[in-house]
């Protein structure tokens, strides 16, 4: 029982990170109907930027960890958003009217570029960071197992929920959110009624990348080690989360992220840790085949 509760906590923490990445997939898919294959690598870039920014601040002599982390959060969000914007501008925007598979192939190319760019710029070896946030609470103790909730887990989950709330507000209440919803329904019609479609799509990528950067920072703090290849698996799992929750749906992305995080943790805890990625891929395939609209998604009508 204690073991289960502990896995539940771990799963929710991991799921929050997946959920933050999944939002980027789900928004882009909702608006322009493409799988932004490079989004996982944007997350990886965000986590590297956070690492470098933090080390840079320490080198500059900022010793207060909370202050440093706050600056790191802003810097990595801003710069990663710039990456998101640039990728859209260079690799996707010229392909708006191209044939069906062109954006996906271009996105795969961009994913390869980002991975190898980081590998060239920062080296292929893993980057460790000693734990910055210590402490935690012991919730209750069983016979020989104490359930612990660490501070970093609290921070990850709390940040995720604050960002989710803010982002839901943005989509539901602001002008930009209205434009985004208009674009999601019908790009051409939105353009006709005066929505700046290019700008809206750009901002969607910017926001998605900024959220991925937060996920990158959380990943760095939680696991304490990153390399240039983390984006691939995290990206696939977050995409699975987006589809599982119903692609195009924001609460769905969060729900899907939590479910994938829980399934992965429980699978590793109770079945086999070697096959945990097989489980993730198998869920992806099963969901796409049997539940392509996801839990909270709308059925899609195929038009000629």
């Amino acid at each position: 029982m204690e073991y289960f509760v502990q896995q539940l906590i771990n799963g929710i923490t991991l799921g929050s990170i997946y959920g933050l990445i999944a939002i980027g997939y789900t928004m882009v898919y909702g608006i322009i109907g493409m799988i932004n294959f490079a989004h996982g690598d944007i997350f990886m870039v965000g986590s590297f930027l956070a690492l470098i920014a933090f080390l840079g601040l320490v080198a500059l002599g900022i010793s207060s960890v909370p202050l440093a982390l706050f600056i790191v959060l802003l810097v990595s969000m801003g710069l990663t958003a710039l990456y998101g914007w640039t990728v859209e501008r260079i690799a996707y925007r010229p392909l708006r009217r191209s044939f069906r598979l062109a954006p996906l192939i271009s996105a795969i190319g961009m994913s390869i570029v980002l991975q190898n760019y980081v590998q060239v710029a920062q080296g292929a070896r893993v980057k460790p960071l000693p734990p910055l946030i210590h402490g935690g609470y012991t919730l209750f103790e069983g016979n020989d197992f104490a359930v612990r909730l660490s501070n970093i887990q609290i921070i990850v989950v709390a940040t995720t929920f604050v960002l989710m709330a803010g982002f839901s507000f943005l989509v539901a209440r602001t002008r930009l959110g209205r434009n985004m919803r208009a674009c999601e329904q019908d790009l051409r019609m939105a353009a006709l009624v005066g929505v700046d479609v290019d700008r809206t799509i750009s901002l969607t990528f910017v926001i998605g990348a900024a959220l991925a950067a937060v996920a990158g920072l959380m990943f760095l703090l939680y696991y304490g080690v990153i390399d240039f290849f983390i984006g691939f698996l995290a990206g696939v799992k977050a995409f699975t989360a987006a589809v599982l929750g119903g692609i195009g749906s924001l609460p769905g992305a969060m729900l899907g992220g939590l479910l994938i995080g829980l399934i992965e943790t429980m699978w590793s805890a109770y079945f086999s840790i070697e096959y945990k990625d097989v489980a993730a891929f198998a869920i992806l395939i099963i969901v796409l085949i049997f539940l392509p609209t996801g839990i909270l998604g709308r059925p899609e009508i195929e038009k000629v």
């Binding site: 260079i90 690799a91 190319g109 920062q122 980057k127 891929f281 392509p292």
Partner: protein
């Protein structure tokens, strides 16, 4: 600016161009300031140590500024029209040469072992190129003809290689029995993948195939008893020349034909073997394109709903495309296993799938000659720039993006449509009524 008088574009605006370039430079600065400007490395204590590279950062930003400035100043002024730049007579000659290009390419491919007999390095490279050409041909059936984007093609390559290795080792069958078996098993893997993905649309299908490829790799990695896990399988039997082994023994290939023994014999044999397999793939593909099933594949690529409306069974059409592509991937895998003598899951990562896909995309999806030229160009370039190894994947990813933007029909070649509604005289440069895509 002498061209200004005849140019109809807006007058040269240096201030606007400078502003544009400054913005581009600012964006570049933002992108690269941390990633290029600071490098993190593990120091002697294990903690990360920073080194600054502001010189490189400044150089990149300056290059972006210059590039953006040139682009803003010249882009609309110098409109390079391919048709106007090259006179019609030359394009006509070029296209008539292109008609013989395939034959010339084939003739060259056949001559390679004779010309480069003494150069072991080049022979190995040639084998590698033809292997990837064959993989490209196989994937071309799925992606180029049927329009189903397969991101896990390497799974079939792996199934073929492991089938060959296991059958040859455990049952002691010869290469010529194992090869078709490996192909059949890979085709079954194709059907296994094909069945569930039948109902999926383009990009979902791509992601499922990616997942399938990774699952196969992870199973190979973790099923220690059967596959040897990360250690792979070694000591895979080498192919023999119809029962004559390539060794210095008295019943070996060299002794039987009265030749002096040389290890190159086996390399040459392997080269012709993979060339024959690739040509077989090519021939089958070309023939299939003329059969109803091939026409159905191409129709499926253009419009699935119209396909169904016309009474084409999309289920069998997709399944045959997957199975056929997978079978040739399996053949290539069996060849890979017998050539290497050692296989491990390391050889079957997503990167390989992406490489084969890039060959098909750069070659022009659906074009056979294009795939062959793209495989030669790409792997040749990889070898040429071996000392820049870490940059080559960077360039190759960038090339995929650039091809999609500037030449979505492929860098190397344009596919000639299998069927034309109205026969018309072939003219170079005229593509707007092509029935393909």
């Amino acid at each position: 600016m002498p061209r200004d008088s005849e140019s109809t574009t807006k007058p040269l605006n240096v201030t606007a161009a400078l502003k544009e370039a400054a913005i581009a430079a600012l964006v570049a600065f933002g992108l690269f300031v941390l990633m290029i400007g600071i490098r993190t490395d593990q120091g002697p204590t294990g903690a990360l140590v920073l080194t600054t590279r502001f010189g490189a950062l400044a150089a990149i930003v300056a290059a972006v500024f210059a590039g953006a400035l040139l682009r803003a100043l010249l882009w609309h002024r110098v409109t390079i029209s391919f048709d106007r730049l090259v006179p019609a007579s030359i394009t006509a000659t070029a296209s008539s040469i292109a008609a013989y290009a395939a034959a010339a390419f084939l003739a060259f491919a056949l001559m390679v072992p004779i010309v480069f007999y003494t150069n072991r390095y080049l022979l190995d490279l040639a084998i590698l190129i033809v292997t990837y050409t064959m993989l490209g041909f196989g994937l071309n059936i799925v992606v180029g003809l049927a329009g189903l984007l397969d991101l896990g093609y390497v799974a079939f390559y792996a199934v073929g290689a492991y089938s060959y290795a296991l059958i040859a080792q455990d049952f002691g069958f010869s290469f010529w029995i194992c090869l078709p078996l490996a192909g059949i098993l890979a085709a079954f893997a194709g059907l296994l993948l094909g069945f569930p993905v039948l109902r999926l649309r383009g990009d979902y299908l791509a992601i499922v195939t990616l997942g399938f490829g990774e699952i196969i790799r992870l199973i190979l990695l973790n099923w220690q008893d059967l596959t040897g896990g990360p250690n792979g399988i070694s000591g895979i039997p080498r192919p023999s020349f119809f029962g004559l082994p390539f060794n210095s023994a008295n019943n070996g290939f060299a002794a039987t034909f009265g030749l002096e023994f040389s290890p190159t014999h086996r390399i040459v044999f392997l080269y012709y073997l993979i060339l024959a397999l690739a040509l077989l793939t090519n021939w089958v593909t070309l023939r299939l394109r003329r059969l109803p099933i091939g026409r159905a594949w191409e129709a499926l690529r253009e419009d699935e709903i119209a396909c169904r409306a016309l009474g084409i069974n999309t289920t069998t059409t997709k399944l045959t495309a997957f199975a056929m592509g997978a079978m040739f991937g399996g053949f290539a895998g069996a060849f890979f296993a017998t050539r290497q003598g050692f296989i491990s899951p390391e050889s079957f990562t997503f990167g390989e799938s992406a490489l084969v896909l890039a060959i098909v995309v750069l070659g022009g999806m659906g074009s056979q000659l294009g795939v062959a030229v793209a495989a030669t160009a790409m792997l040749g370039a990889f070898e040429l720039f071996r000392e820049f190894e870490q940059y080559r994947m960077l360039v190759f990813g960038g090339a995929m993006v650039a091809v999609m933007i500037y030449r979505p029909r492929g860098l190397v070649s344009r596919r000639t449509p299998s069927v034309l509604l109205h026969e018309r005289p072939a003219r170079a440069g005229e593509t707007h009524r092509e029935t393909s895509r």
